[in-house]
Symmetry: C2
Subunit: 431 residues, 2 copies
């Protein structure tokens, strides 16, 4: 910029919009291509359905009418037949009696991944200074987004059963006592195989959690955002019913999901089943953002659902991710299993993540000896500190690590965990 040019005067929102810490990590992965990355939450390249997509697109574009429809503008809310298919898909996943839930295709909105709906819901509800409640830890891209919107993110403990209802109730009680309840707008729950822990919210907590939120919805309704991005990647046991199941009047829960993890991130198709009175604000906002996500991708996903290609693909994916999770858990037992009870990790029944806790004395952040040593040993992981929002009342644990088995082959996963084990041993021996 030449010296005589004044800077732009950015908006207050722009000033709050910061680089996500994870982005530096991703740059490190690119700069160190030989390092085994257990960091990225990407999906396994080898599983991407190239042949299936080719068949579906060829059939679509060979039919001139269908092809033109896919290449023409769509609607802001999303392709109606896709929204109909998505409603049927949700009914199937939850085993709902179709009459159980007051949700029609009109209550579904298609978006550029579920992230776009997360953003818009935040933007439509949060004014600077408002409060959003999330898990401790939680999906950090969204908590970072909320902070850019000006939200104060307050956190609720997550244990092996997910967000702890009693802790949520206690937090809401404290906020109420402090006069902050009118500012509480959203409770954000990743309800299946949560990023970063892999933990699923227990079935018997779901209705209780909703009841608590309803009880505190005194001045206004507090929205529960149920982020079900990893739900269909369940490969052990049956997943519990969605939180949405306990919202038959369709008024409290925005259920969000995406085809990024289960079909293809490159099509960037996500969707949300929204409380009816939020549909209009969300669609109006999306009209200002882009007046509709890529129609071609919506037509592709619709065909994948209608032909059963999608459902078969998800089954294959689950088998593959189960194998990888098994490889990671076994390698953790082999290489970190003898370090005593202070070292433990989660045992996900689906999704892409294992969350590892080390002794409190071992720091895991990106300037830590362990992080440096792990890179030397040839493995990159996500420091757990990134996964905790900036709750002003809490201290971020420094001894956790997020591990993803999404991208690597089982052999690389084993080698990566072995490298991490060597790094941990080294740091323990050289305190």
């Amino acid at each position: 910029m030449p010296s005589n040019a004044k800077p732009f005067a950015l908006s207050s929102r722009a000033c709050r919009t910061r680089r996500q810490p994870i982005s530096g990590l991703m740059a490190q992965a690119v700069e160190n291509p030989d390092v085994i990355s257990l960091a990225a939450g990407l999906v396994d390249d080898a599983t991407l359905p190239t042949a299936e997509a080719a068949d579906l697109l060829t059939a679509m574009l060979a039919d001139t009418g269908a092809g033109r429809a896919a290449l023409q503008y769509g609607t802001t809310k999303g392709l109606l037949p896709l929204r109909e298919a998505l409603r049927a898909h949700l009914v199937h996943l939850d085993g709902w009696d179709p009459a159980h839930i007051a949700a029609t295709p009109d209550d579904l909105v298609v978006a550029t991944g579920s992230q776009q709906l997360l953003f818009i819901l935040g933007d439509m509800l949060v004014d600077p200074g408002d409060v959003v409640i999330a898990g401790w830890p939680s999906y950090f891209v969204y908590t970072g987004t909320l902070e850019a919107l000006g939200a104060e993110v307050r956190c609720v403990d997550v244990d092996d059963g997910g967000m702890v209802p009693e802790a949520l109730e206690a937090l809401l009680g404290r906020l109420d006592a402090g006069g902050a309840l009118p500012r509480v707008k959203i409770v954000y729950v990743v309800s299946y195989h949560q990023n970063p822990t892999g933990i699923t919210l227990a079935g018997d907590r779901r209705e209780r959690l909703l009841d608590i939120v309803r009880r505190y919805s005194r001045d206004h309704r507090i929205l529960v955002i149920e982020d079900a991005a990893y739900r269909e990647l369940t490969f052990e046991g049956a997943p519990p019913p969605s939180l949405k199941t306990y919202d038959p009047e369709n008024r409290d829960v925005a259920l969000l999901a995406t085809f990024s993890k289960t079909f293809s991130p490159g099509v960037k198709v996500g969707y949300g089943l929204l409380p009816r009175d939020l549909v209009e604000p969300v669609v109006l906002a999306k009209g200002n953002h882009d007046f509709g996500s890529a129609n071609l991708c919506q037509h592709l996903v619709l065909r994948a659902l209608e032909t059963g290609v999608y459902q078969r693909h998800v089954k294959r994916l689950c088998r593959r991710y189960a194998e990888k999770r098994d490889a990671m858990l076994a390698a953790l037992q082999t290489h970190l299993g003898d370090l005593g009870p202070q070292v433990h990790w989660t045992h996900p029944t689906g999704g892409l993540y294992v969350f590892l806790t080390l002794p409190e004395a071992i720091e895991t952040h990106s300037r830590s000896p362990l992080f440096a040593r792990a890179l030397e040993e040839g493995v990159l992981t996500v420091p757990g500190e990134y996964c905790y929002a900036a709750d002003p009342t809490r201290t971020v644990p420094q001894n956790t690590i997020r591990l993803s088995y999404g991208v690597c082959e089982p052999d690389r996963i084993r080698a990566g965990i072995a490298a991490l084990g060597r790094a941990v041993a080294h740091v323990l021996e050289n305190p």
Copy 2:
């Protein structure tokens, strides 16, 4: 909503986000399928490149590596080879010496249509109460978006040469005198075949316009957004160089364009060449919106550019739209040419729109006798009042109409203008 449910407490932005008036019109078009719509700015269904897209996608997905890359996550900023191709494309369109302009692929951002960049640029620069300057008339979806962001939109006359530089200078002078200059953030210019008038900003106004904006960039730089969505749909004469051409240091102008009008709206790929110090704020915001637009569509557009399929398609499109424009202009002469000098219309050299002015006594709004009569006669058009932002210092003309020749066949265009002519005659005879 059950009676015991409290409403959500929407954000102040949500409260400012209103239904675009055009949406009611589009619903009317859907409800009256037999009516000839000269309203929608959609592209001609018959021109959509289904066979070309099929060939490109088949070749891409048959190559496993390329196919997986397209179905995997991309980057927030957009596919690097596409950004390289887009830079080359811009250099070609403007005939720049590649060294002429300090713009690299790093200064390009790919988005979900150019609308997403319009939104994000507004969001990164505008705080409620800030001022954005646009044409009178201008592209109303964006001025509506700006109003949702809290901007006060102030307008500058548009004549046959586009935005009038002297009028811009006078407005900036008045804002300065009133102490409002520190709040002026953006000057928005649709530089080619403007929606709604079809008018192109004259070549000899471009540098002057930029100079004026620079002169008033005293406290901070005022961004010029150059919306070039219709540039490549030039079918008569050579279009003038972009405004960006007069910004060789890449600091004042955000040049936005899209493949929606020239290739396929269904791929929703737009892009912007941004002043370097705006790239980071825009990319960070886009990270919060969706961390990248559909990668599959970006790969498709890249192949269309690289193979020349895109360039050939644009040539065919221009021939087709030229024929339709000719049909519309001839029909206007036939059916409205004898109504005296108070009735006149623009003569676009490209794009999709003709702007019609009627005698001041004839109102064109959606509750007007003319609008109702035109629907009865079988034609739907856009009341010109929608195309003027809510500038508090101006009175919206009530006697203009936007006509689009984008969608209909020439015969339907002629029939639609004949119907409009009958409606106008009827209203003139029954005042």
